[in-house]
Subunit: 229 residues, 2 copies
Amino acid sequence: MNKNSPRAVILLSGGLDSATLMAIARRDGCRCYAISFDYGQRHRCELDAAAVVAEHNGAVEHKVISLNLDSIGGSALTDINLDVPESPGSGIPITYVPARNTVFLSIALGWAEVLDAERIYIGVNAVDYSGYPDCRPEYVAAFQTLANLATRQGVEGQPISIEAPLQLMSKAEIVTLGKELKVDYSLTISCYNPAPGGEACRVCDACRLRAQGFIEAGFADPTRYQREM
Amino acid sequence: MNKNSPRAVILLSGGLDSATLMAIARRDGCRCYAISFDYGQRHRCELDAAAVVAEHNGAVEHKVISLNLDSIGGSALTDINLDVPESPGSGIPITYVPARNTVFLSIALGWAEVLDAERIYIGVNAVDYSGYPDCRPEYVAAFQTLANLATRQGVEGQPISIEAPLQLMSKAEIVTLGKELKVDYSLTISCYNPAPGGEACRVCDACRLRAQGFIEAGFADPTRYQREM
C-alpha cells in the first residue's frame, strides 16, 4: 500500500458483513477510511466493535458521525418502545430503519468527495437479508447514478464508485471469504438487541442469519451469547 | 386543509427560497412537516429563522436534525478556517458543502417514510444558483429514482414524490411568486456569513443573488444588513 493506492471510504457497522467488507477493500489494495454512525441505535455497542475492527484492519482514519435518526422514529432499532422481534415475520420488518442506507451512503459520499476517494464500500446483501428495500442491487445502482450527478468528481468525469461486493453472496459465502482474508469475527457484533456487555441475544434476525452462516460455512461461531441454546 | 390533505416534508433552511417553497406547499393544500439541519454551518442563526418561518406558515411540526457534517470538512460554510468569498469565482465554489442536498433529502426521505407523507419539497434552483452539482434537474430526477427503490412506499407502489418547484425559476420570479403568496421575507435569512444578530453581510454569493432578485422583481428588500452599500 502506498500513496498511489486508491482511497476508499468503508461503511463500517462493526458487524460480520462490514468487517468482511473492510478486509475485501484491503485485499483490493485500498487505503481505508472507515465511517460509522451513532444514530440512536439500541445496539450502540457495535460502535466499540467498529473502532476495534477499524484499528485491526489498519484504517487510516475512523470517523463516527452522530445524528439523531431516533427523532424520526419508525424502527425497533431506534425506538426502545418497539420490541425487536424474536422470530422472522413477512414483509419489511420493524427493524428496518427508514432510509438508513441512503443517509449513510450520502454522508459517506460527502466524505469521499472531501478525501478525493475513488470508492465507497458498502456491505449490503440481497441474499440472506431481512427484506429491506435499500439492500437490493437496483437500489445500489440507483445510488451510483445519483453519486455521478451529485459530486464534484462526477461533474469532472471521475465519479466515485459504489462497491457492494457482498451483494450477491450468501452469509456462508461471506464467512468463508472472511476466513480466507483472516477476519477476526470475535471482534464483531451483529446482534440488534445485545446485552450492555455486547453479548448477542441469539434470537433476533441478525443473530439467526449470522449463526446460520457459520453453520453452513463449517466454522466455529465466536459470538458471545447472553443465553444458551 | 383536512385529514385527507396530502402530507409533505419541507426542507426548510430559513432562507428566501425555502420560505417561498413552504408557501407553495401550503398553496398546494399540503399539511406541512418542516425539517431543518444543524450541521455545523457558520450561519446557524438561519435555524432561528427556520423556526419562525415554520410557525408563521402553520407547520404541523418542525424538526431539527443535528449532524456533525463539519467533521468531514471541505466547505467554507462549515469550516471557520476557510473564508466565505466576497466575489463570485468560477467552477464549483468553496461554499459548496459536499453531498449536502443528498444528505438532507435522505433524512427527509426517512421522515417522509415514517409519516407516510406523499411528498418532499426541496427548494433547489438551477437558474440563479451558485454552480452546485446537487441543484440540477437531472440530480433531482436521479434522487426520485432512488427514492422509488429505497422506501417501503416505493416497494408498495406509492412512491414519495420529490417536488422541486423553484427549480427553473429565476430569483426574481421566486420573489414575485412569494409576494403573491404573502411570504414575509423579513423573517428569512439568506446570508452565508451573517453577524451574530442575523444581519446579512451583503457581499457573499447568497446575499448578491437575493438582492438582485428583489431589484429585478421590483420589491423592497427587507433584509437587515451589517453595512451600508
